[in-house]
């Protein structure tokens, strides 16, 4: 038994290193100065320029982007991540409540309309979506960034699934206790869904924060750039120049990945629950 476990641990440690090493390289490289990186390649040992590099990317405009600082992009990412998660949760909880708890004449019709939105990812209807948002004058706005992303019913499905698992007796008890539909929703169902809400919030926050294609199309004004959107600028500058600021590029990558990583690690049990439960 002992020997078997040794190999198990070895494989797991190798797996963990496989996950960690690329990011460790990125981080260590970000603490060196560009000239030494250019000369020696990416680094695995800490360099002395940590504060300098991160201070520059956070507060100074005019590196890869021309007008915005890392801090602005960070807040834009926050707005996108949180706005998307909150918007999606509120809207999908309302819709799921209507579908599960009400006798609707056209219930299955509404259900199929909502269901159909699961069929097609944004990527395959990207051009018409872009044109519609453009024609509505929603380019370079948070609304244009967030709302069209909500148009997929994944959240509605998670909550529908969860509401169906809530015992019928709770509604019955609440009805006998004199709670109407609004009261039942706010007093009983929303508090009952707390864990579910937290789990979905984490999944959706990460999803929103990590959006790339849509922000790339919708935001041309740099003041609306998110960190992940900013990556595109980096590659374009990188493609043109021969002595790129690799340290700053890596530092921006670290900045772009850090918040979602922290959220996922800190709220790990909720995150795993959300991911696994929601897909059932």
């Amino acid at each position: 038994m002992r020997r078997v476990h040794f190999w198990d641990h070895l494989i797991l440690i190798l797996g963990s290193l496989l996950m960690l090493m690329p990011i460790l390289y990125a981080f260590m490289t970000s603490t060196h100065d560009p000239v030494s990186i250019f000369r020696n390649g990416m680094q695995l040992s800490p360099g002395g320029h940590f504060f300098e590099t991160y201070h520059t990317i956070l507060t100074k405009a005019g590196g890869f982007t021309k007008e915005v600082t890392g801090v602005t992009m960070f807040w834009n990412s926050m707005i996108l991540g949180i706005g998307f998660a909150v918007g999606k949760i509120v809207i999908s909880m309302m819709a799921a409540y209507a579908i599960v708890y009400f006798r609707l004449p056209f219930a299955s019709f509404f259900f199929w309309i909502i269901f159909s939105s699961l069929l097609l990812p944004l990527e395959v209807r990207i051009l018409p979506s872009y044109e519609i948002v453009q024609s509505m004058g929603m380019m370079n706005s948070y609304a244009g960034l967030i709302i069209p992303l909500i148009a997929s019913a994944t959240g509605t499905f998670y909550f529908r699934q969860f509401f169906k698992s809530v015992p019928d007796e709770l509604v019955e008890a609440a009805r006998i206790d004199g709670a109407g539909p609004v009261k039942f929703f706010l007093d009983i169902l929303v508090p009952l869904s707390r864990t579910m809400i937290a789990a979905i919030f984490i999944i959706m926050f990460v999803y929103g924060w990590n959006q790339y294609l849509w922000p790339t199309l919708i935001t041309t004004d740099e003041s609306f750039f998110t960190l992940v959107r900013g990556i595109k600028q980096i590659t374009q500058v990188y493609a043109e120049s021969r002595l790129p600021k690799v340290n700053e590029a890596m530092a921006l990558s670290i900045l772009a990945m850090l918040p979602p990583i922290l959220v996922v690690i800190i709220f790990q049990s909720w995150f795993v629950k959300g991911l696994v439960e929601s897909e059932k």
């Binding site: 006998i176 004199g178 009952l192």
Partner: protein
């Protein structure tokens, strides 16, 4: 407190499934009525129609003299105790009990007062701040009761409230529910599939089968004078023994040729004789002038403590029967015993309809 009365209440589900086929019943003020029957007999549906959780297809339900068919559950002034308790998991015990009162706009002090009194009565005062998940099954059951009591409703509706408890706790809670109901004097309708619960709790029993009332009566009436083979077999454990008897011209005969000294003036051709396991006497000799005499070939003896169940067949190959004997029975498998039963202990049912015969048999002179 109120009289609840049902007139020809029916429930037909989509797809023409008739769950309740016309039930009429009046529950008097302060009376404790138990609806009992096997699963799927419509007892829960009937209760839920009284609660307002299920639409009534036809017929009327009256609570306190007014028809409530279209009245919302909250406005019927009833309280319900659910099988899984249906406590709000995120609310404290206090809030669980207070929620219905708050929704009715009751004054905070009055709520606190009522919860306090109910909690003391149910001995859960020390748990008022806890969440339901921190309570044992028995305590949750008490909270569910408390939630019903604080409302001081016209009627209590119980939907198998004890079936999630272990056997010992069930007996204890059964007694408490009975005492509580008597002291509050609230009209109660209680659903169970457990005949023991039904017998011990009820002022009157309603035995349901297939959406139809088989019999209404006090527990002892139902036990002693079952109106059908269904009731006879459902109430009582071990169940009543059923023996087929046939008409042989002038008199009736048990199929195994044992002695049966009764006769009827009836046009029914096939009868079923019912005898409760405890109503047999094991005779000393083969001769007996009792109404029924037969021989029992013992196949097994079960000692269950204060009594024994003797299993066997009537004659060599006849129907299986169970005899209940006090104390430890010293019989062994393979032994043949002489059984008798007196005339008053015999029940006769029409084999075709299962109904108890309206005509009483008269004792035949041997």
């Amino acid at each position: 407190m109120a009289v609840i009365s049902l007139q020809d209440v029916r429930k037909v589900y989509a797809g023409n499934v008739e769950a309740v086929k016309g039930v009429s019943l009046t529950i008097e003020n302060g009376e404790f009525i138990v609806l009992v029957g096997p699963s799927g007999c419509g007892k829960s549906t009937l209760l839920r129609m009284v609660a307002g959780l299920e639409e009534i297809t036809s017929g009327t339900v009256q609570i306190g003299g007014s028809v409530v068919n279209k009245v919302e559950p909250a406005d019927r002034d009833i309280a319900m105790v659910f099988q899984n308790y249906a406590l709000y998991p995120h609310m404290s015990v206090y809030d669980n009990m207070a929620y219905g009162l708050k929704n009715r706009g009751m004054d905070r002090d009055e709520i606190a007062n009522r919860v306090r009194i109910a909690a003391n009565k149910l001995e859960i005062a020390e748990y008022l701040d806890r969440k339901p998940r921190a309570l044992s099954g028995g305590q949750r059951q008490r909270v569910a009761m408390g939630r019903a009591i604080v409302r001081e409703p016209k009627a209590f509706l119980f939907d198998e409230p004890l079936s999630n408890l272990d056997a010992k706790l069930r007996v204890q809670m059964r007694l408490e529910i009975k005492k509580l109901q008597k002291s509050l004097g609230t009209t109660s309708l209680y659903v169970t599939h457990d005949q023991l619960e039904a017998m011990t709790l009820a002022d009157r029993l309603v035995v349901l089968n297939g959406g139809v009332v088989e019999q209404i009566g006090t527990p002892i009436e139902v036990y002693e004078k079952p109106q059908s083979t269904f009731v006879a077999s459902f109430i009582g454990s071990p169940a009543m023994n059923f023996l087929p008897v046939t008409n042989v011209g002038t008199h009736w005969r048990l199929q195994q040729g044992s002695g049966l000294r009764v006769h009827f003036d009836t046009d029914v051709n096939e009868l079923t004789l019912g005898v409760r396991p405890e109503d047999f006497t094991i005779a000393n000799g083969p001769q007996s002038d009792e109404a029924l005499s037969a021989s029992l070939l013992v196949s097994a003896v079960e000692l269950v403590g204060a009594e024994s169940f003797v299993h066997g067949t009537l004659g060599e190959t006849g129907p299986e029967i169970i005899v209940r004997v006090h104390g430890k029975a010293g019989y062994v498998a393979g032994e043949t015993l002489a059984l008798t039963a007196s005339y008053e202990k015999l029940h006769f049912f029409d084999t075709k309809t299962g109904k108890c015969l309206k005509v009483s048999p008269s004792r035949a002179i041997a």
